[in-house]
Amino acid sequence: MTGKTFEYAPAPESRAVVDLASSYGLFIGGEFTAGAGSATFKTINPATEEVLAEVTEAGEADVDRAVAAARRAYERVWGPMPGRERAKYLFRIARIVQERSRELAVAESLDNGKPIRESRDGDLPLVAAWFFYYAGWADKLEHAGLGTEPRALGVAGQVIPWNFPLMMLAWKIAPALATGNTVVLKPAETTPLTALLFAEICQQADLPAGVVNIVTGAGPTGQALVTHAGVDKVAFTGSTAVGRGIARSLAGTDKRLTLELGGKAANVVFDDAPLDQAVEGIVNGIFFNQGHVCCAGSRLLVQESVADEVLERLKARMTTLRVGDPLDKNTDVGAINSAAQLARIRTLSDTGDAEGAERWSAPCTLPDHGFWFAPTIFTGVTQAHRIAREEIFGPVLSVLTFRTPAEAVAKANNTPYGLSAGVWTEKGSRILWMAEQLRAGVVWANTFNKFDPASPFGGYKESGYGREGGRHGLAGYLR
């Protein structure tokens, strides 16, 4: 009994709370409808490669129909509706999300591969919070400091990524609806399920037909949506390459555009940092959501004098990470979202080896099926390494060192991206100085990857433009 292994027995969350259909149509004009063509695609569970459902691939005709439905709803119902009435729907949606949060969390973990602990304690509470927060703004827009008579833009075409499927949906839909716009949203092709469950929630909330439309598909569907002549506003979260393409195709039109793109955030640890919490912050910064986070702290900049100690503590902490079944309540790191992403992570990691950085992976047994990558750090990385410059979007941390605060700032800013950064020090004045120097949209001090609907989020440089969240998040949907 005093044997010294405390093995946690499997503690799987029940799948029975989710009732998935075998196939899904497109959600247009308040109803699920078949696509004009016969094209479909399958969405799988990345932890097992099991097929979860068959989903319709929307073509140009379907996008056209969805935009027309959104336009009708905007002109006849949602646009003219007083803000206080719109708020009622948003509050109702928020409450239904809370009521169905367990079901939605399980569906998210099944489709995305993220641990149930994160979808249950992270994603879903934030999704509800986003709707509650923007519901509160709906009848107060003239007091938002955006003019005395702010008006909606019309129809918003929104394209979201696969890393936080439902949360990104909430970030997009909540402010758009609060400000009086209607939306056509395209979820990512590997994670369409929670958006389709959200369509059910719109029906359950009696949201007027056409206010929210969901079209599923891959790149061409997204392209058809963002370039559609009937779309007044495009909001995109995803890779910098795709974002750049969208910006190019929208140039010369009168469409409004906000982009939230990639990142290569520096997490800067000074020698006077609270070390145990800094190590937690490093782990949370890069291994949260398997590192599939645009604002992930993928570059650790640690002051030379504590580098060895921090690395030793970090490795010890990483050996306690529990990698495996996303539905197990004790899992810390789940599955990589897709075979394609896994291949990309492997390719970039291999360049780390080839360019002479030293790889260390947490000892863990990876499952035989599905897509997995052990939490990994590279030491001996310099600014010249590809793994210090390119976004890996996986559980891979590049460790660099610095000697002076000025060097930390120079290295942190030496990236084409500018989304987020972290600072770890017990010295308040240094936090403020660093926040001033760092060219990043979000700077976290003694924490990392913290989100709140009241706080604006967004980047500059190649991380995009526009802000989501907070009062600033309204601006992207008003004229």
């Binding site: 009994m1 005093t2 405390f6 609270p274 145990d276 919490q277 937690e280 309540k329 003694n446």
Partner: protein, 311 residues
């Protein structure tokens, strides 16, 4: 080890410098980490293991003015056989009493369990060193093989760390072969930074165990406080090679609390501390909840308070 000890404890200014040079503890981060660990889901075989381990770590405690020899005898008997209906139930680790009842406890448990006695002007720590040492001598003479002393918080908080250090060294010496648990009274230290510094101070002075609370001050043991102390013993062993135990006390009511602490040991200090020699839980009513949960695991149904013995 000797260099760290001699450098850190060479003078009061060196000691103060050493303690204030320890890495700080960010309150929000520490509490967040503890809260995340508290979400671990411990079921079936893992729960059975954890319940038995927790029972074997209990310092079954009574520290009331109203304690009687009869109550202590009953408590000692319960510590020996927590569940008389089930011989597979492990014994508790120790009985923890006031010095005048140490002999009574020892008479019941013989050499089968430890007898812990609070001493050194418990619970306030407010007396002269002479009186404290005399009380320790009394307790060990009466059969206590573990001494739970409390530090002088006034001295610690006003920066007289040398005084606290010297007092612990003296008490440790007076203990002889008995193990010394040093109570930090974390509820009065107020910050996690102080908890970490006091932990190191006690360990540098020779504590065999560091203990959170007397049970007379609220808040007593909390999960983040125990976590910070476990980080301290982990780091102290890495620096000196000497392993020190941890004892949260007070505030434990439910088996769930106990299991959460075992999770924190497992993931923060490491499995070496998952042992009654290195981790104790000072509690009284907790034991009954552990027993009820244990019976539930065995029978599949909850019994009730009449199926475990009153303290």
């Amino acid at each position: 080890m000797t260099t760290l000890l001699s450098e850190a404890t060479g003078s009061e200014s060196a000691l103060r410098r050493f303690l204030s040079g320890l890495p700080g503890v960010d309150q929000v981060g520490a509490e967040g980490r503890a809260a995340t660990l508290a979400t671990r889901s411990i079921k079936t075989t893992a729960k059975a293991y954890a319940l038995d381990l927790a029972i074997s770590m209990v310092d079954l405690t009574t520290l009331e003015g109203a304690d009687t020899p009869g109550k202590v005898r009953a408590l000692a008997a319960k510590a020996l056989r927590p569940d008389p209906t089930d011989p597979s139930c492990p014994a508790a680790a120790a009985v923890c009493v006031y010095p005048d009842l140490a002999a009574t406890a020892r008479a019941v448990v013989g050499d089968r369990l430890h007898v812990a006695s609070v001493a050194a002007a418990f619970p306030s720590g407010r007396s002269s060193l002479e009186v404290k040492l005399r009380e320790v001598a009394d307790a060990t003479a009466a059969g206590a093989d573990e001494i739970d002393m409390v530090i002088d918080r006034g001295a610690f908080l006003t920066g007289r760390v040398q005084q606290v250090f010297d007092e612990i060294v003296a008490v440790k010496q007076a203990c002889g072969p008995a193990h010394l648990k040093v109570i930090l009274e974390t509820g009065e230290l107020a910050t996690y930074d102080n908890v970490r510094r006091a932990s190191w101070l006690a360990m540098l002075a020779g504590a065999d165990f560091i203990k959170t609370s007397t049970g007379k001050v609220q808040p007593a043991a909390t999960l983040p406080v125990t976590m910070v102390m476990l980080e301290a013993v982990r780091d102290f062993r890495a620096a000196t090679g000497r392993q020190v135990g941890v004892k949260p006390a007070g505030g434990f009511r439910s088996a769930k609390d106990a299991v959460r602490h075992l999770v924190v040991i497992n993931e923060v200090a490491g499995p070496d501390w998952l042992d009654p020699d290195w981790f104790r839980i000072g509690a009284s009513s907790l034991l009954n909840d552990l027993l009820l949960q244990r019976q539930k695991m065995a029978t599949g149904a909850y019994s009730g308070p009449d199926y475990v013995s009153l303290d």
